[in-house]
Subunit: 345 residues, 2 copies
DNA sequence: TTGAAAGCGCTACCAT
DNA sequence: ATGGTAGCGCTTTCAA
């Protein structure tokens, strides 16, 4: 019936034939061994091993309406931010028997909607999203899917379903305030504001600037942030405002680039320049000088998302009472920030 | 027939009903619009949009024996090494209409076999692996699947199917030789030898040690490498052999950690210590001093893997003539390595 | 404990 | 150009 010869892969029928039992029994022997007599079970398992049988997940999912899959959509795989996050997802979901499927929207607007659609087409039993700015159509698809949807990383006013995150505006504000609080006045901000979180951080920075009656100095780049860009933006900031004595970098990669560029130019950190990053990536504590930063609970956000999903899928679909969880952030002062020389205490 | 009420998601039947056409016509209107009259096509598309229809990929794949999926199995998502690699895969496969599914084996032996099994259960149309040391059972499953299998990152003596990589023994040898060639004699190696590639690099280093009649100094750590570990291993090396004047770091993250730790201890790089990394990750060129390293063609490996797969799947399954491609590596000398003081040219 | 029958949602084939 | 029918490989009844 098929034009393209189905790859001659071993099917359950062949296993059953070889073990001389019915397909149902073979299926049971593989999935619920305790329901099958030892004799038949052994025969089935032996046949399956012998034939190197791999169950067709597609057929299984279609028949059972259970895919055992959870989709996770992230905007990037390449900046370290989602490392802990994905690790947490694997840590919780894998032992629970769920397969984690990662889709990447690459920070391209519109790709997330496509990724969500693709994910939904595979009928995952839950979906975890980074961020809260899904398109209207995506929200509709998500709602219609009738599965748990967790928006993470950021706090939403109107969550689709469950929401676990933190306020990036607050976090950005805290970072800038730390710098102003150390007596700095010319405090710059560099960012690759590709997502709403980065833009929220900029807003937090601007609010602090206003509070301290200072002038904003913002340098941005439209590509996904990396270390090299951090160096470039440092150069730009110094050119535009040579008196800058402190920089809030929108993430740790930018901060690392800024730090290196300072060293390259003989600008001492923290003596001449204070630098604070964002995220507390793995390398931040090991840098020299150790990088001050804002720690975000990335592992914890994904962990809680996963736990809640397990609870819902196992427990008859009931949502937890708290559908909106603010996990906050932590200001980490290390060696790369310092009270400005000559500033009164 | 189902106990668990199938999520009431919109099916093709409902779209067809709503558009007052048969299921087949609805299916065609969505997949091959040119086969359907404009009138019906418009009705179907309108109904699909209205109902926010998302095709069930599972059913489609089962019926058509085409999943439009390619599985990529990597040992880690968290060390930057697979960033370019995955980007290349997306760059080539996505426009070609393939969905990329990433599975992570987490450098845990045995997990790769499981990941391969999981991947195969989803009936991908091709599979891309990192490394060449698959288990015997995995090889059997892969062979049986009858789909293109590309082993990457490393060159194999007996590829399963297609193999694109480089010799890590040669690359490690080249790194160490560079250091010896600069007049260093106490040349150490630090590594997190979690995979066969890292172990091959160690072998390359040891071969160079022998050739230059030196003593091996190898410090290793069994966790996935990161920047902090690079610092720790530097400390260990200096403790064990204070006269060490050059280090080949098994990857750039370790190198970065070593660099920072040198700075912390007042060991000047490259004046007192030469450091060479491995992979040429994004930050290497921006570091201060810029990091010497071995560039590996990660983007290119995945790109060629993808192109070959497209060619095979499109072109009646014929394999290319060359099934084993060595893409080599490049020694990148930057500022972190230098001829040892007082060494004769 | 075992198995026969039906059907998951979709597409291939063949007919009209 | 359109639709009826069969069937992908599996699991879920339900009956024996």
């Amino acid at each position: 019936m098929q034009n393209k010869p189905r790859s001659s892969r071993v099917t359950l029928r062949e296993v059953a034939l070889s073990a001389d039992v019915s397909e149902v029994t073979a299926s049971r022997a593989l999935r619920n061994p305790e329901l099958v007599s030892e004799r038949l079970r052994d025969r089935v398992l032996a046949a399956a091993r012998e034939l190197a049988y791999v169950p067709n997940q597609l057929a299984s999912a279609l028949a059972s309406a259970r895919t055992g899959r959870v989709a996770i959509i992230v905007p990037s795989l390449t900046n370290g931010v989602f490392d802990d996050y994905l690790r947490a997802a694997y840590d919780i979901f894998t032992p629970a028997g769920f397969q984690v499927v990662i889709l990447n929207s690459n920070y391209v607007p519109g790709f997330e909607e496509r990724a969500i659609e693709t994910a939904l087409g595979q009928y995952p039993e839950a979906i975890v999203l980074a961020g809260i700015d899904q398109t209207a159509r995506a929200r509709r698809l998500l709602n219609q899917a009738g599965i748990p949807v967790v928006q993470t990383m950021e706090i939403a006013d109107d969550p689709i379903d469950i929401n676990i995150g933190l306020s990036h505006a607050e976090a950005g504000h805290a970072a800038a305030r730390l710098l102003f609080g150390l007596g700095h006045f010319r405090v710059a901000h560099m960012a690759s504001p590709l997502d709403s979180r980065a833009r929220e951080r900029v807003r937090g920075y601007l609010r602090a600037v206003q509070e301290f009656d200072a002038e904003p100095i913002v340098a941005t780049d439209d590509s996904p942030s990396n270390v090299a860009i951090g160096g470039d933006l440092l150069v730009e900031i110094l050119r535009r405002e040579p008196a800058t004595s402190a920089i809030f970098c929108g993430n740790d990669n930018l901060a690392l680039g800024a730090l290196f560029e300072c060293q390259r130019r003989g600008v001492r950190v923290p003596e001449d320049m204070s630098i604070i990053g964002f995220n507390d990536l793995e390398f931040a504590k090991s840098a020299f000088p150790a990088l001050s930063t804002i720690a975000t609970p990335r592992y914890e956000m994904a962990r809680q998302a996963a736990e809640i999903i397990l609870e819902i899928t196992r427990g008859s679909g009931k949502r937890p009472r708290k559908r909106r969880i603010d996990l906050g952030f932590e200001v980490i002062e290390r060696a790369s920030t310092r009270r400005i020389a000559g500033a009164s205490k």
